[in-house]
């Protein structure tokens, strides 16, 4: 979207100027060129994002089936009514939120701390960059296998370490309804920390060194420098990281599907898991679409609330 605006804006602005026909011709040619360059991305965007989204909105009002062509019979708001009255829908929504609450604060704070520490390293910084970022390039299937291994009840790494401290391992972290989500959150923390870490590290390297020098001359402590220089200078990065992280956490699916399949019972079933089950196991794309629209509304609402919160904070600061 940003790209499209950036390219189109000069072209649109040109005809306003009373220059000549020639200029508007150049504008038209530019515009055509811009569209040509946008086309490859645009087609994918239409075919795989906008198209399905519109289809989702429409089919949520129908009894659409996965295995039948067409929309099926008209359902009105029945799919929405069904979802809003289903206990397992609300529990899946709560688990999604629960996962977001468990993962966003540590993923932002730990990434920040590690980025600051890495930035202070003079030699071999590449090693730390690599070490923190490496898990991020692994596919979700791999990290799930690794952590299911670690959390194996009885004989796993986790159970072994816990038993040194005299705690009986029991059903294992993922086998207990009270700890299964925490286990998934820990695996996710290890996996996706690297992304936020790299964003913070890039932000840190853009802060001019002379600010720190000036502060040091004025006798600021290391903590004071972080508190009054690093954190304020990184506020834009933090805004971005938090927003991306919230959205990523609300979209949680892979780890849950692969590590617990929503279990034990439905104690870790998340919204996307419920949507997948409804759409592809029960073959009810219509009902699954309604659930997707509801999740979409929640994600947009959270993003907007965050944006408003940020804007008011910025106004206060100004």
């Amino acid at each position: 979207m940003t790209t499209a605006e950036a390219v189109n804006r000069p072209a649109m602005a040109v005809p306003k100027k009373a220059s000549a026909r020639q200029r508007s011709m150049i504008g038209a040619r530019n515009r055509r060129g811009a569209w040509l360059f946008l086309a490859p991305f645009g087609i994918f965007y239409l075919a795989f994002l906008l198209g399905p989204t519109v289809w989702m909105l429409i089919s949520s009002f129908f009894n659409t089936s996965t295995v039948r062509p067409g929309l099926g019979s008209f359902a009105g708001f029945a799919n929405y009514a069904e979802m809003l009255t289903r206990a397992d829908f609300w529990s899946a929504m709560w688990h999604t939120l629960q996962f977001t609450i468990y993962t966003v604060p540590p993923l932002v704070m730990v990434a920040f701390v590690f980025a600051v520490l890495t930035n202070r390293v003079r030699r071999g910084q590449w090693f730390f960059r690599l070490a923190f970022f490496l898990p991020f390039i692994l596919p979700s299937a791999t990290i799930s296998l690794i952590w299911v291994f670690i959390f194996t009840p009885g004989s796993g790494l986790w159970a072994t370490i816990v038993s040194w401290f005299g705690v009986a391992p029991g059903a294992g972290v993922l086998g207990d309804p009270n700890t299964a989500m925490i286990g998934i959150a820990i695996a996710t923390l290890w996996w996706t920390l690297g992304f936020n870490f790299v964003l913070y590290l890039a932000g840190l390297q853009e802060i001019p060194r002379d600010l720190y020098e000036a502060a040091a001359v004025d006798g600021a402590t290391a903590w004071g420098q972080i508190r009054y220089i690093t954190i304020p200078m990184l506020s834009r990065t933090t805004t971005l990281v938090i927003l991306l992280q919230i959205i990523a956490s609300l979209k949680i699916f892979d780890q849950v599907y692969l590590m617990t399949a929503g279990g034990p019972g439905i104690s870790t079933q998340v919204a996307l898991g419920l949507i997948t089950n409804t759409g592809f196991t029960d073959n009810r794309i219509g009902a699954a679409s309604a659930a997707s629209v509801l999740l979409f509304i929640v994600i947009v609402a959270i993003a907007v609330i965050r944006q408003l919160f940020d804007r008011s904070a910025a106004r206060k600061a100004a």
Binding site: T66, V67, E82, R86, P264, G265, F280, G286
Partner: protein, 446 residues
């Protein structure tokens, strides 16, 4: 030319040439995996793609049978893929077929084949198909064959029947005086005889007499309940009209669940055991009986020093019955040439011919030439429970029903809780009614 004027290789001509070269590569290399992936053609048209869901003992037996096929047809003739059991498998099979990339042959549970057929995912199998590889409908166990018929069409070719059976510990039962002089379990075909047997075993073990897994396990409570429920004369199916009506006989439901709870209260039946725990108790002589599908024979045989036997679940009420399902071969919908159709049927025939290998894993063959063979009848303890297939009760057809389905999970969970004495029979029934409501009210999406 290039040698004379090197500058003539402009970026444009380079790119054009590159695209042309790539195109030639794609056309020429129909057998290369890259080209096949780009145009969506099969990687190796001669190769038969087979999907199944067998792990554990079943998985290794199926691999033996697949090896039997490739021995005759060559190493590259078969690509077999194993997927995780249950709902994920059927979702994959459905989506692959809707997406026009189905396997040539797939395994399906009989109770899951019906919803797949309703969803237009399966092709019916004609008598001509069967005849093309020397099969006919009279080659199959009539009960199983009748169970797969849907709207007068054959939708699946059954490989086996796998009923719920009763495992017993030979040592414990002989101490309790339940073994006759021939070393077989004495008949226990009425409630009084069975309950006094439970009491006798309980005295020997000093605790449980019979085990049924009910913690983190929903299928087993459902299997046990259905078996006993259908032993009562004249009961209606649990659900009917393709899952749109709850037609369970409430009195029979209450009778069966109350009876099971009374066994728990007397200490005969375990209150809470998971799948492995329920086995272990019987295998280690801490219980005499254990109810589960016959496939657990592989596990039981692997226990050193365990002497065990298997019999059909005794008829405690009016008529013999055993909850069961069948593994079947199905043909997912796709464009096939007559040769490809015959190839698929040939594969199925080859698997059926090796039914004896399959039967060693406990399953009762559906293929009569194997079922009636001397070799099968000599298999112990398989022959002792083979009659259970005659009284097989399949789950009532429903678009959300069948083995490992949403229906079994929902009902089985409540039955498991009832066995834990956490809820009354009435409480279980009303929870089941509530939780199934969404599915009962929703028209089938198939």
């Amino acid at each position: 030319m290039v040698a004379h004027r090197p500058s003539s290789l402009t970026r444009r001509s380079f790119l054009t040439g590159g695209i042309a070269a790539a195109g030639t590569l794609a056309l020429a290399g129909c057998t290369s995996p890259l080209a096949a992936g780009l145009v969506g053609s099969p990687l190796n048209p001669q190769q038969l793609i087979f999907w199944n869901l067998f792990g554990g003992g079943d998985g290794s037996r199926m691999q033996t049978m697949e090896a039997g096929y490739t021995k005759v047809h060559g190493a590259g003739s078969l690509q077999a893929t194993v997927f995780a059991w249950g709902n994920p498998y059927y979702s994959k099979l459905t989506l692959a077929t809707v997406g026009n990339k189905p396997p040539d042959v797939a395994i399906s549970h009989l109770t899951r084949a019906k919803p797949l057929y309703d969803g237009d995912v399966l092709e019916p199998i004609t008598e001509a198909d069967l005849a093309s590889v020397g099969l006919s409908s009279s080659d199959f166990n009539p009960k199983t064959w009748a169970a797969q018929k849907t709207d007068g069409k054959n939708i699946a070719i059954p490989l086996d029947t796998h009923p719920l059976v009763m495992f017993f510990n030979q040592d414990v039962c002989s101490k309790a005086g339940l073994i006759d002089s021939a070393g077989k379990l004495k008949p226990l075909d009425n409630m009084d005889a069975f309950e006094s047997a439970l009491a006798a075993i309980s005295k020997i073990t000093g605790g449980a007499a019979i085990t049924v897994a009910n913690v983190s396990e929903t299928a087993t409570p459902w299997r046990v309940f259905t078996t006993l429920y259908h032993q009562i004369n004249g009961v209606t199916p649990f659900i009917s009209d393709n899952g749109s009506k709850l037609t369970v006989d409430k009195d029979a439901f209450t009778e069966v669940v109350t009876r099971l709870q009374s066994w728990v209260k007397k200490g005969w039946l375990n209150k809470g055991l998971d799948y492995a725990g329920a086995q272990t108790l019987m295998f280690t002589g801490k219980a005499g009986f254990y109810l589960e599908g016959e496939w657990e024979i592989t596990t039981a045989q692997s226990i050193k020093g365990l002497k065990f036997g298997m019999v059909p679940v005794p008829t405690l009420y009016d008529t013999p019955a055993a909850q069961a399902d069948s593994h079947t071969f199905v043909l997912p919908r796709k464009d096939r040439t007559p040769e490809q159709r015959k190839q698929a049927m040939g594969f199925i025939k080859s698997m059926l011919d090796q039914s004896l290998t399959w039967a060693k894993g406990g399953h009762i063959p559906a293929y009569l030439p194997t079922l009636d063979s001397k070799a099968y009848k000599a298999l112990e303890p398989q022959a002792d429970y083979a009659s259970a297939a005659k009284h097989a009760v399949y789950d009532a057809p429903a678009w959300y029903g069948g083995s490992g389905s949403t229906f079994e999970n929902t009902v089985g969970a409540q039955l498991g809780l009832a066995q834990q004495l956490a809820i009354t029979p009435q409480g279980a029934l009303s929870a089941i009614t509530d939780q199934l409501q969404v599915y009962l009210n929703t028209p089938s999406p198939l």
